[in-house]
């Protein structure tokens, strides 16, 4: 459970999980949404995968990530977002789905 809390404590990782709630996405598609380097993004994916919150589906060189959260973990994600379970600054998303259509 510690790994889950660690994974959910970072706003960038929470944003990744929120993106994946709509459906599986490629690593590149997810990374394109955030203003962080690829190694940093890979580290975030590794933390989420270690916590068992996402699973990677490798086909050739392409990696697709699927959400793999229990109901409790999804509820924790919601609580973390609302009550600000936050240990570090958020990485500003470049094209957040929540900001679509806003300037």
């Amino acid at each position: 459970m510690n790994t889950v809390f660690k994974a959910l404590s970072d706003p960038t990782r929470r944003s990744v999980l929120q993106l994946l709630q709509a459906g599986p996405l490629g690593a590149g598609e997810i990374a394109a949404q955030f203003a962080v380097s690829k190694p940093t993004m890979s580290a975030h994916f590794a933390v989420l995968a270690e916590a068992g919150l996402i699973v990677a589906d490798k086909q050739g060189r392409a990696i697709t990530y699927h959400l793999n959260m229990s109901v409790l973990e999804e509820a924790l994600l919601g609580f973390a977002g609302v009550f600000g379970l936050q240990l570090q600054r958020a990485t500003p998303p470049l094209r957040s789905p929540h900001l679509k259509g806003k300037s």
């Binding site: 459906g23 793999n68 109901v71």
Partner: protein
């Protein structure tokens, strides 16, 4: 015998479920009728059953088998999430009914709530298969 982490988790969860049921049945047997009425024992067992439903439904999004090639990955994921949430809420409703409703209506109400959750899951599954 080499058990994977997943196997160990499954085994522990099954043992916990069995333990909860045995403990509830034991407590009901030992405590009634001196410390626990028949109604109280029925409520206790109902709450324990609801807790088991919640415990297993919580894991449903992770452990449900994929629907082969019937659905896209996004639809399968949405179905898994819906199943988990519906059954967890149904289980919580089942527990709440046994905890709060008048005892003569608790069973009916609890089954209605959980049955509604199952029906919603079945409808969503049928919808996913047809479309």
């Amino acid at each position: 015998m080499n058990l994977t982490h997943h196997d160990r988790t499954q085994l522990l969860r099954a043992l916990l479920a069995a333990g909860i049921l045995l403990l509830t049945a034991g407590v009901s047997k030992i405590a009634s009728p001196a410390f626990l009425s028949a109604d109280g024992a029925a409520r206790l067992l109902g709450i324990a059953m609801g807790a088991l439903v919640v415990m297993y439904a919580n894991q449903a999004p992770k452990i449900l088998a994929p629907l082969a090639s019937r659905c896209s990955a996004a639809h399968t994921q949405a179905l898994r999430r819906f199943t988990g949430w519906a059954l967890v809420l149904g289980g919580l409703g089942y527990m709440a009914a046994w905890l709060l409703a008048p005892v003569d209506q608790a069973a009916t109400l609890a089954l209605a709530l959980l049955g509604t959750a199952f029906a919603l899951v079945l409808l969503r599954l049928l919808h996913a298969i047809v479309h």
